[in-house]
């Protein structure tokens, strides 16, 4: 009897220990949240973590949906580009059918806009691999590669939606430098401009198992008169590790615009 009780206690202790040292993926599954958003709170208990392991599905936790509350002053080129945008969010918001946000036609969001996770229920995942880190964005089912093999950034590259990125550790901070962006993107859903001379620095730090900090700086002298330093972004480990298949499908979007968005804006002539 005593032996049986002792065995039970030992088994319970082993189970508790195994849960406490469960790997990252188990931590995400432990939340058992059915979905996302508020139900997707990460486990509250802090457990040991490897600060050099950024892997996980990360969700936005507060913050503004751009670099910081106030952008630097525009250059004349930046101002003209900004004025040509018709956002459907923020103080200049127009009705949906009159907007020209590239997102509403399923164009790629690009960078740094993808990092803002503006559609709050969609996350990003960091997946370290040999000589690179993959960053998967749930929105539009897209990804970028951050090279960690020591290669230099390309000189005078062709513009790309996601740019070109290299990353390296500086202590416990993973620092990513990027350039070569396509200036057809908007920097955020407020219509702030991206220029093809823009460079982006991202600094990721895993504060604990459940918390990832991200600080960014962009330099885009063609569009802004000064560098734009972001607020400190906080991301939380998503309880549910699944990333859904959230393609932005042009044909579906066109039909939605025709049946819902445009008539909801009073536009009936578009076909």
């Amino acid at each position: 009897m005593r032996r049986s009780t002792l065995s039970s206690l030992l088994a319970a202790a082993l189970l508790a220990a195994s849960l406490a040292w469960a790997p990252l993926s188990s931590g995400q599954e432990k939340g058992k949240a059915k979905g996302k958003g508020k139900a997707d709170a990460a486990p509250a208990v802090s457990v040991p973590h490897d600060p050099h392991d950024l892997s996980g599905v990360w969700r936005r936790s507060g913050g503004v949906l751009t670099m910081s509350a106030t952008p630097p002053a525009f250059t004349p080129w930046g101002k003209a580009k900004f004025d040509a945008t018709k956002p459907v969010y923020g103080p200049r918001a127009v009705q949906g059918g009159f907007g020209n946000d590239p997102m509403s036609t399923c164009d790629p969001l690009g960078m740094p806009r993808n990092l803002f996770l503006e559609v709050s229920i969609y996350n990003f995942e960091l997946v370290p691999a040999a000589n690179r880190v993959y960053q998967f964005f749930e929105w539009a089912h897209s990804y970028r590669i951050i090279w960690t093999d020591g290669r230099p950034l390309p000189k005078d590259p062709d513009p790309r939606w996601m740019g070109y990125s290299v990353g390296a550790w500086e202590g416990d901070t993973f620092v990513v430098h990027s350039l070569g962006f396509d200036e057809r993107t908007w920097l955020d859903h407020f219509g702030n401009p991206v220029s093809d001379d823009m460079t982006l620095e991202e600094r990721y730090r895993r504060l604990d198992r459940d918390t990832l900090e991200l600080k960014m700086v962009i330099n885009a002298p063609k569009a802004y008169t000064q560098p734009w330093v972001s607020e400190t972004k906080t991301l939380k480990l998503a309880a549910k590790p699944d990333m859904e298949e959230i393609f932005c499908v042009p044909t579906e979007e066109q039909r939605f615009n025709k049946l819902v968005r445009d008539p909801g804006s009073g536009i009936t002539s578009k076909q």
Binding site: K34, G35, K36, G37, K38, A39, P87, V88, Y89, A93, V94, Q95, G96, G97, G99, D101, M103, S104, E118, V119, S120, I121, Y122, W139, H189, E244, E245, I246, F247, C248, V249, E252, R255, F256, L259, V260, R261, P263, G264, S265, G266, T268
Partner: protein, 129 residues
């Protein structure tokens, strides 16, 4: 087409309980005032797609004229958490829905988080984001 606010459409004065959608196109089309409307109609199509789910339905005005309505809903993942699936609504279902009307006055609205009534039975739409 302008929205005929006639019989069959009750303008509700209570505070809107409309869901805050994570809509990627924004909700700037819709009224932000404390105004919702409730309409009765028959489902003609239920579109279960990312990132928008929407329902198309026909509403008869007081003269018997059919008005084609569209109701925008949350994303499939949010609705799934509320127990919905792509077959929750079917063509021919009789529905009563509460919507935030749009500013243009056309028969398109944003479904509120208030219950929908489907064939006489209440059905929860799901939580706010």
């Amino acid at each position: 087409m302008r929205l005929p606010f006639k019989a069959g459409i009750a303008v509700m004065g209570f505070l809107s309980l409309a869901a805050t959608l994570a809509a990627h196109h924004g909700t700037s089309n819709y009224e932000t005032t404390a105004k919702t409307i409730t309409v009765n109609g028959v489902v003609t199509e239920f579109v279960w797609s990312n990132p928008h789910v929407y329902v198309l339905f026909d509403v008869k005005d007081d003269q018997g004229k059919v008005v084609h309505w569209a109701g925008e809903m949350n994303s499939p993942s949010v609705l799934r958490n509320a127990g919905w699936s792509k077959t929750t609504l079917k063509t021919g279902d009789q529905i009563t829905v509460t919507l935030r009307p749009n500013k243009a006055g056309t028969p398109v609205g944003l479904l509120s988080r208030a219950n929908m009534i489907v064939n006489g039975k209440p059905l929860a739409i799901g939580p706010e984001q």
